[in-house]
Symmetry: C2
Subunit: 410 residues, 2 copies
Amino acid sequence: MSATPIFVLGGAQTDFSRSWSREGSDLAALLAEPVQGALLDAGVDATDVEVGHVANFASEIYCGQGHLGGLFVEADPAFVGLPTSRHEAACASGSVAVLAAMADLEADRYDVACVVGVEMMRNVPSRDAVANLGAAAWVPFETDGVAMVWPEVFAALGDEYDRRYGLEAEHLAALARSSFENARRNPNAQTRGWDLPEHAFEEDERDNPVVAGRLRRHDCSQITDGAAAVILASPEYAEEWAASHGLDLEEVPRIRGWGHRTARMSFADKLRDEGPYVFPHVRGAILDAFDRAGVADVSELDAIECHDCFTTTHYMAIDHFGITAPGESWKAIEDGTVFADGLLPVNPSGGLIGCGHPVGASGVRMLLDVAKQVRSGAGDYQVDGARTAATLNIGGSATTTVSFVVGTDD
Amino acid sequence: MSATPIFVLGGAQTDFSRSWSREGSDLAALLAEPVQGALLDAGVDATDVEVGHVANFASEIYCGQGHLGGLFVEADPAFVGLPTSRHEAACASGSVAVLAAMADLEADRYDVACVVGVEMMRNVPSRDAVANLGAAAWVPFETDGVAMVWPEVFAALGDEYDRRYGLEAEHLAALARSSFENARRNPNAQTRGWDLPEHAFEEDERDNPVVAGRLRRHDCSQITDGAAAVILASPEYAEEWAASHGLDLEEVPRIRGWGHRTARMSFADKLRDEGPYVFPHVRGAILDAFDRAGVADVSELDAIECHDCFTTTHYMAIDHFGITAPGESWKAIEDGTVFADGLLPVNPSGGLIGCGHPVGASGVRMLLDVAKQVRSGAGDYQVDGARTAATLNIGGSATTTVSFVVGTDD
């Protein structure tokens, strides 16, 4: 396996703490803001963009609006006439849109693509916002009569770890604490200014009530409005772009490798393998990304942005990346490896729990965050000297898994 | 412009007259049936498929189900672990999924892709099924207080033709009649067995009542359950496949060229250009497809499958393909050019009006139909000696436009 490197010239995201409907703003505006921000960040003129890709999970349900490729065109007058499309893989929508854009560039169809991930969720009552997420599970088998499908599924992921290896509540709590702490340094994180109650990370029925099974309020990511965009380019365009921006091409972040696998739809069907990894296909997708990137193992990474829709997913990411042996993620928590000042920070941005999780945007936001890390552009949540970083974005109960390895030099 | 030819090794579609919910069957089954049929038709083993692409417009609304890449995996045990994703561009979803699959093959990521378009619509009351389609327009600007957004938009398309060039009801009626007649020869067409009333194509308030403006019942395509799948392959794989199937590669249908453009979201914004073509971007997408295919003009085509969501759209396709000068589509109707026994049959399958229009499936069904035509595999609706054929698939009010040119030799 190998991969044509696709360059990330720049990007932007919205402030995930904003409620766009409360501001009287709409989906088109939410989509457009980071697109304009990404063009500005990359120093790329809108007329240079040749194709638009939109990631979105379920704007049909949240907003009654599909066909977001059409809204992409409305983000800039120069986009009228561009080829566009919308891509979906539940919470991994952002990554499959990036993969589609990369394929366009790798196939030499175009030189510059804009990918924007977007989700508006706070325009509906919280209960509906949560219920709508059920569409990412297998309906109705996994959803009928189930109050909170995702907390229940990811609590069951914790149960499976517990059954196989043992799992302590304190380790999940430590991941939650880390996510909220990291988010305080991220100016776009939804929770950056939250005043958490005294016992936010304890088994406290007032300050941290049970949501489902072993998962409590602060083990869960947030319902969020948000969008994130990146400008991707072919090696040829990136070379010219770097020269005209006075940069060494070596300093420009590029997607060095990727992995993409889809497991069976239901959570129960995923657990039929009794191998060392709870989700062998997640491990496989990560190894595919390493392989395409020419990365031997996780020790070559300086930072990771993973899909902590819940703390149990974060816990899963740690051993599946190979930071520890399978089932031993707790070791990397106890020795601090995965925290902001550790050897391999996981979710220095705050992750989904700290940043918020606008479903269709999260995969793009993660890619943007690792690109920022490897170009030393992550501000107060910068991992010192990061040169190589990876993402792990999952959809549903890890039905769709995508991992990217991003770096500044080969 | 040029394009790597991507080969269509085979395909299948469901019988569009079936109501899957009435049969007690579900979306996963609807998706799986043509996938299995396509594998059989192509003589390709499921283990050879390397990537799955799903086209769907709005299963979130119709079925409460998103994440159809996960359901793709359920279509065959060999698919577990494959990379999959779902693509959407309203009624052009099928074509953008095909474009994404082609890019994967052109980029040399994979050699064999399966693309399946699917839509279940008859599981909800007709009124809801129609209302749900509003999500392809710009919500709420084009939908608030509008009873039937699409009949109204495409009636207005007729009005625009009338304003610019004149438009007679008899010509639209002739297209409707042709669509239903052609569908009688298509064993998968929803309307093949319909007993149409005596005055079905006349201005008759009982047999053909007004739906919106100048559009009457039989000017409109049908709410349909349906799915269609194709097996696409790289030139390398196709060559080996042809040899092992005792075929000349020259005889294998291939996508020779494509065009893909996106116009502004609202119908009103599309009409701001007073050039010769009502939809200049549709003309542009067709010319892009011709250009990539090395086709000089429409005279090289032997058949067309166009997106006749309404007869006015069919009418638009005729002049936009260049069969007549702009505004003169009526000439190709009066002289019979576009009918089944004419010089250039348009919608020999029956089109959306005759076949039915399962939104996410239609673009794939069109590609399958032109592939059948150029390999002389269209049975009773075969266009004699067809070697080159094209599709025109549009989403929304022609917001997204995709055209493919398919042929058997270069």
